[in-house]
Every structure is written in structure tokens, then in C-alpha cells.
Symmetry: C2
Subunit: 198 residues, 2 copies
DNA sequence: GTCTATACGCTGATAGAC
DNA sequence: GTCTATCAGCGTATAGAC
């Protein structure tokens, strides 16, 4: 559930205000350029509250991290329910990713930009989390069913989503001006049909 | 030229020792988790020398950044000289990228992993640097010549190199065990032919 | 649970001898 | 140019009142 989305106003629960403020700041300036005091100010909370709720800066980062994984997990599960067939499912995931990038850019930016291992060394890497495992399962199934070209799962998955991920990064970096969905059709076709002149 | 490569031994020039030490540390722990003292120790130099040569930690980061851009620029220029045609050139760039990832992983890691804007806000972004411009020119030319599918340059370029970049990242993160060149043929074919079942 | 004030370590940076 | 010793500031974390 878009928990963080609802907590922007000031009269929301404390822990929620802290998370939204921290997420914004982390994305704007980068984790290391944000102090607990910064978060405290933007969230209109005292430092004590932050340590009470999350035990410190890294605690906030971890909470955001798990939150993020949950959100992406829901996205994948929704797609599994709504579409069938590997190709349709992968395309729908890309579409949702593009939509999220426009409507909830902070979460996506935190997912893609943050080098989580750098400040949460003990957390398992993103690509071993459940939504990413589910995603690779979709690809594997698609290969079995003959919907997707045979090959090493990592390679195929990289080609499948590599283009979309790059576009999201370029969009987040302000290099691409148009909303990502503008390029959806073209991306999907180029990925499935190949880059050879049509 | 692989300037940094040659400076590992202790009897090399001071500025070079500083750069190699810093590069290693930045990649291992992340820029923000490395102090000037750490660099000083590993390079067997005094702090004073570091400030004399580079003016501080950020100065080192900038020097590495420009060094990196130069190296990548040479790579692209070499490819332009060695191969002709957009497709052959792009493939060769990917091949060289894969080789570099194995033989000189630190540079590649610094290029892909580091969030340079986070600690060098005033430096222009990587994708506006000359090698990346040259790279997009190759793609543009390829579209004109009918070698590459028509479309938005950003989208096409993302699809073209997105898969390779993802693979490099996965390799650097230790997710992929085999040397990247193992997957080169498969990647290139999947990218150009598309992911539909062959 | 929330707040303020405070302690303390680390880090980037400088001064000045050699 | 290189070094050592030292400083000042910031940022995390805690103590203790309310």
C-alpha cells in the first residue's frame, strides 16, 4: 500500500512524517549528505522521536528499504494477477514502473539511485529480494513456454529490463523531459523485436 | 593510457600512488566511507602531500573522474578507428567494456557505481561527457544508414547498452560468477534480434 | 512518547618545521 | 615538496526533564 504517499501533511502520524521527510531528503541530497537534524527539521519532530522510532539514521534507511521492497512486491503480485503470459507480464511491469516513476518518483529514485550496500552492509541485496526472484521466475517460465528466447536467465533478464531501467534513470536525472510512458511502445517493440532496422 | 594501472608498486610517483589507493578505497567502501586518513595510510603518503597534490578529498575524486572520462574516450576513439558501421562499433564497445570489467574492475566500478553528483555537484554529468556524446553519434549515424531501427535516440541507446550495463553491474556486485565475455555472444544476439523466441 | 541540551568521536583541513 | 601535530566543525547518539 502507498503508505508513504499519504503522510505528507503535518498532522499525520509521527513515524510516517519522519519517513517521508527522510525519503525526500535522501533522494534530493543523497543519504550521506543528510543529517539527522535535517530530517528532524523537515519532519517537524524532535531528534528524540527519531531515535525512539527508528534508533537512528540507518534505522530510517532500513525501514524505507523494506517498505520499498514491499511496494515492488505488491506491484509484481498485482501484475501476476492481472496478466498472463511472460511477455504480457513483463510489459505490464515495465509500464507500471514507468507510471510509478512519474507519480512517485522518490520511491523509484531511492530504489535505483541509492547504493544501499554502502550504508546498510548487512541487508541482503535488492536483487535477492522476493519481488526480484518472482520477476526472474516469470522470465524462466516464459522461456519454458517458448514465449521468450532461450538463454542464460541473467542475460535475458538484463536485456529485457535493462533498457527500461536506463530510461528510468535518465528520466530521474532530468535528461529525458517527456513522461516515460511516451516511450513505452517504442521501448517494448525495440526490446522484443530487436534493434536491427525494421 | 592505463595510467593508474602502472602505479600499484610503492616506488611509483606520489600523486599516482594516491590516486590508485583512493580509487581502490572508494570502490571498496564507497566515497563517503573513506577518510583522507585512510587514503594516506594505504598510499604510504602524508596528509600534507595529499592536500598539496589534490587540495583535498574532493580533488582526488575529480581527478579520478576526469581520468575515467579520458580512458573511456580513448576506448571509443579506438573503436571508431578499428571498426566501421554502427553495429560493429557498438558491439566492439560492449566487448571492450566487458574486458575492462574483468581486467580493470575498479575504473569500471567507479564509473558505474559512484553517484558522482552526490559529492561533485558542479561537475557535468557523465552522459554529457565527450565519449558518451560520441557514442550517441554512432547510434544516430546507424539510424541514418538503416543499420539500426529508427526511433528516439535515448530509447534506442538505452536498449542497446542497457543490457550490457546491467550485466556489468551484476558482475561487479558478485551476482554473476563467470567472466562477462562468456555472455557476450548471447547478449549481442538477444539485443539485435529481440527477445521473442528464436 | 516527546522534547532540549549536551557529550564525544571522527573528518576535513591548516600551520609550520624540515 | 613532504611531513607531523593540531584545530574547528559537524553529525551521531545519549541523558534526563516534561
Amino acid at each position: 500500500m502507498p503508505y508513504l504517499k499519504k503522510c505528507t501533511p503535518e498532522n499525520e502520524p509521527v513515524d510516517c512524517r519522519i519517513l517521508t521527510a527522510a525519503l525526500e531528503l535522501f533522494v534530493e541530497r543523497g543519504y550521506h549528505n543528510v543529517s539527522v537534524h535535517d530530517v528532524q527539521k523537515r519532519a517537524n519532530v524532535s531528534i528524540g522521536s527519531i531515535y525512539n522510532h527508528f534508533g537512528g539514521k540507518e534505522g530510517i534507511a532500513k525501514a524505507l528499504y523494506h517498505h520499498l521492497i514491499n511496494e515492488f512486491d505488491e506491484l509484481v503480485q498485482d501484475v501476476l494477477a492481472e496478466a498472463s503470459g511472460a511477455r504480457a507480464r513483463c510489459n505490464l511491469i515495465i509500464q507500471r514502473l514507468f507510471e510509478y516513476t512519474e507519480t512517485r518518483r522518490h520511491i523509484i529514485a531511492y530504489m535505483l539511485h541509492a547504493k544501499h550496500r554502502e550504508f546498510m552492509p548487512e541487508e541482503p541485496p535488492l536483487c535477492s529480494s522476493s519481488p526480484f526472484v518472482a520477476l526472474r521466475d516469470i522470465v524462466r517460465q516464459g522461456m519454458e513456454d517458448g514465449e521468450i528466447r532461450q538463454g542464460d536467465p541473467w542475460v535475458i533478464t538484463s536485456v529485457l529490463f535493462g533498457g527500461a531501467i536506463r530510461l528510468v534513470q535518465l528520466r530521474l536525472d532530468g535528461v529525458i523531459d517527456a513522461p516515460l510512458m511516451t516511450h513505452y511502445e517504442e521501448l517494448v517493440e525495440a526490446t522484443w523485436q530487436g534493434l536491427g532496422s525494421a
